[in-house]
Amino acid sequence: MKFAVAAPVAALALALGAARAASPGQAQRPDLSAQDLARVAEIVRPARDFSAAEQFEAMQGGAGTVADKIVNPDIFSHPAANLSFEARQEFLVGNGLFRKNWVSSPSSTQASDGLGPLFNARSCQACHVKDGRGTVPGFDPLERSDAVALLLRLSVPAKEGSAPRVDQGEVASLPDPVYGHQLQPFAVPGLPAEGQIRIDYAEVPVALAGGETATLMSPTYRVTDLGYGPLHPDVRFSPRLAPPMLGMGLLEAIHENDILANAGRDPGDGISGRVNWLRDPRTGERVLGRFNWKAGQPDVAHQAAAAFSGDMGLSTPLFPSHYGDCTPAQKACLEMPHGAQPHLGEHEVPERLMHFVEVYSLNLALPQRRDVDDARVLAGKKLFYESNCIGCHVPKYVTRRDAARPEHRFQLIWPYTDLLLHDMGPGLADGQDEGDAGGREWRTPPLWGIGLTKTVNPNATWLHDGRARTLLEAVLWHGGEAQAARDRVVAMTPQERADLIRFLESL
């Protein structure tokens, strides 16, 4: 259910703000003093002067930004610059676990087994290529790689009259009764895999002002080699590509009230972002979704544990099934040996290992921006603002003073996201609900680091299923609430479009 009109909501937020504090219209930040609040309000105000770079703009991840590293394929893999030696050690142990290949049970290395029985990948880095975006199988039917980073979420629509939300478990949607929440194209020896994803692309030309044409690749998904009988007749596919890992601790440290303020304002063009409210499976509390393509996870710990469970079939304290996404209908799967060892704890990946993975995942550094003062970059930035891209891609925040970890506290960051759900139109729709997120809704993805995507993984592409081969194609896929902004890009002169892309490439 969407708010039909954003304005009354904004007015309500305004009234509440005025009642509670001296600075009406400002989102309340109980973590900040009045003096801080004024400084923060000033620094996060959207840019007005595009003749030069803004103060601190190059350090897009705050003090954790790496500024002295050579830009090479490792540029997404550095620990945040403001980590202590101690946290750096935890980060590096986490890095070892992130790239570790888990093995099937039983194995001689008891602490490293437990993979599957069904799985998408054996390690985290298999999908998060060098901590950046994953690779899709490819657009040329004759040169399809065995890329594993694109997974297929499965869901069936809720029945009429039944509860519209399913908010327990790893994924907040109704699974396929046999295949579960996602298709696992691999299984341990002795068990059939679930099936293989096949993608057919149709070319869709898009005419642009100035005589240019872009060609979009419109995908159709199907599943072959089904290992467990037919899929549910109403099943819907939601392909998801592994996103980059940058700055997630900083996103977690954005104050909830700042996100709610985003939801309460009216940026024009009919844009109205919505929160994906979730229920924490452990505490039962209502929590704000921030992570994954539909904001279906509240924090990095849940996101990581969900990936261990769904993608690798490994149990963790948060998601304790040793069988991952095996369903009761997959009896043989539930009869396979698992990897939990009583003397190592009750989970295949115990809390102490998850802690390292979390420290790692929270602290991958943002690279310093390049060319912030370049005339073309600044011209592109101006166009980005004027086209109302910032309606959803909100440029900057100052993180909580009381964030859980010291390195994330009170940092001015530039992620270019409102962390909210938006109707993105039929072209991108997957028809799949996830918590409050509907089938046409996606969370605004952060844009920081996007300009180095291909430096890190030359085969990487963009959007939730990697269908966009260029940043321009990604823009042109925008519809729904972003249709007006997208149309402005279509109407730009070729030089303006090039400037806009140049700006994105500087992020």
């Binding site: 103060q55 930004t65 050690q89 070892g96 676990l97 290395t109 602490a111 054996r122 290529v129 065995d146």
Partner: protein, 432 residues
């Protein structure tokens, strides 16, 4: 400005300590660069010895020739592992390191592996590609012509293919795999029929006939020999490049000498990062926690005890500003130790004591590896005594880093990135 203040403060401190000659940061970073140059020169000369041994093995394969090549590899590791103290803190070294010393590697990309290794891995399409056995590869959906094993094939096509860091096609560990083969003994006992030290009995056991086209074992012996030759030659040329970077006018030397304060920060960042994060964390703690022999740094040769020991020796070299060269002789000069002593003699004593304690703990690990059991056996589950030896070295590494942090505070080098003025003149300034 800050640089001037620091220099002034240091000079004042030096003046106060009348017994001490004034130690200038510029002289300290010069020693640092000199030690780096000598270290990489020694790594290069020992790699050239390895190259000769490899050429001899290929020209006339024999058990002795293989043994000689393995010994040359082990000798080459001695200076190289000491240079790892220069990796962190020097972006030029860090950028280059991946092609020289990357690990762990999926050996199945390079050559035949044991059946227990599995035949496919979703993680890595190159997992059992076996370049040596296959002249034409089709992986990642793309055909690769591997009919000639060349430097370009290894470096540009196969190394980190598909962005997978386990696809290690070049460097010390690729050569190590070719000389030793897989260590199939895990953390279990060595086969009863092998003789020598624990390392000699427990490491990989590739036969010399794997390189002998006339009595070929393992198949494709000419291609295997060619791979070994190309990978060894690449190692030599990579080391030549790094020697150049530390010679007069070289980029790495200039980076530290042009701004001595930044140079001091690079030195200490390097020592702290290697001690605490890389060595105590990723290379030791992880393997010990998982009891996983795959998490062993030099896993084919079972030489990990030496690899870790010489890392620590490299840390000592940088702090003391002295380096014992491979062929005899010593490089020495004004040191971090001198600089610290001039301001806080007690702290300098503390750091030196802790560095010694770590070296002693590493030596204990080395003694155990030479007399009792290999490193991968030490980290095995249930081996309380072996685990404790490794844990002791980890504890000392952590402890020495605490003192290094005090040195950073003493020299006022902390959080350089955080201390930008609120000025646009400084592109690294941050809001605070």
């Amino acid at each position: 400005m800050r640089k001037l203040l620091l220099a002034a403060a240091l000079s004042a401190a030096a003046g106060a300590a009348a017994a001490q000659a004034a130690v200038e940061p510029a002289a300290v970073v010069k020693t640092y660069a000199d030690v780096a140059l000598a270290g990489y020169q020694d790594a290069l000369s020992t790699a050239k010895t390895l190259q000769q041994a490899v050429d001899a093995l290929i020209a006339k394969p024999s058990a002795d020739a293989l043994r000689a090549a393995r010994k040359a590899w082990l000798d080459a590791r001695v200076p190289y592992q000491q240079t790892e103290a220069f990796r962190f803190g020097n972006p030029i070294v860090d950028d280059w390191e991946g092609q020289v010393n990357a690990w762990p590697l999926d050996e199945g990309m390079i050559d035949y592996v044991d059946a227990s290794y599995g035949t496919e891995s979703d993680v890595n399409a190159y997992y059992v590609v076996n370049v040596i056995a296959n002249e034409k590869l089709s992986v990642g959906g793309k055909p690769i012509d591997a009919s000639a094993i060349t430097a370009e094939l290894l470096r540009d096509t196969l190394h980190e293919a598909d962005g997978n860091e386990a696809n290690v096609a070049t460097g010390y560990h690729a050569v190590e795999f070719l000389l030793w083969g897989q260590d199939l003994n895990g953390s279990g006992p060595a086969p009863a029929d092998r003789k020598g030290t624990p390392q000699e009995r427990h490491a990989g056991n590739r036969p010399h006939t794997d390189f002998d086209p006339k009595a070929c074992t393992g198949g494709h012996c000419e291609r295997r020999a060619q791979y070994l030759k190309v990978a060894t030659d690449l190692l030599v040329s990579d080391l030549e490049e790094m020697v150049g970077n530390w010679q007069a006018g070289g980029a790495a030397r200039q980076a530290v000498e042009s701004d001595p304060k930044a140079g001091l920060a690079a030195m200490l960042t390097g020592l702290g990062s290697l001690s605490y994060g890389e060595l105590a964390g990723e290379r030791m703690k992880l393997g010990l926690m998982l009891h996983d022999p795959e998490e062993e740094h030099d896993c084919f040769s079972d030489n990990t005890h030496n690899s870790h020991y010489y890392n620590q020796q490299g840390i000592v070299n940088v702090y003391l500003g002295r380096y014992a060269r491979t062929g005899g002789g010593e490089v020495k000069g004004a040191s971090l130790s001198d600089l610290v002593r001039a301001r806080d003699a007690a702290l300098d004593k503390e750091v030196r004591a802790k560095l010694d304690a770590t070296l002693a703990a590493m030596q204990a690990m080395r003694d155990r590896a030479e007399k009792v059991e290999t490193y991968d056996q030490m980290i095995a589950e249930g081996n309380a005594e072996g685990n404790a030896v490794v844990q002791a070295a980890i504890d000392r590494l952590v402890d020495q880093t605490r003192s290094l942090e005090r040195v950073i505070a003493l020299l006022d080098l902390g959080n350089i990135e955080l201390e930008g003025s609120d000025s646009l003149d400084n592109p690294q300034a941050v809001f605070q």
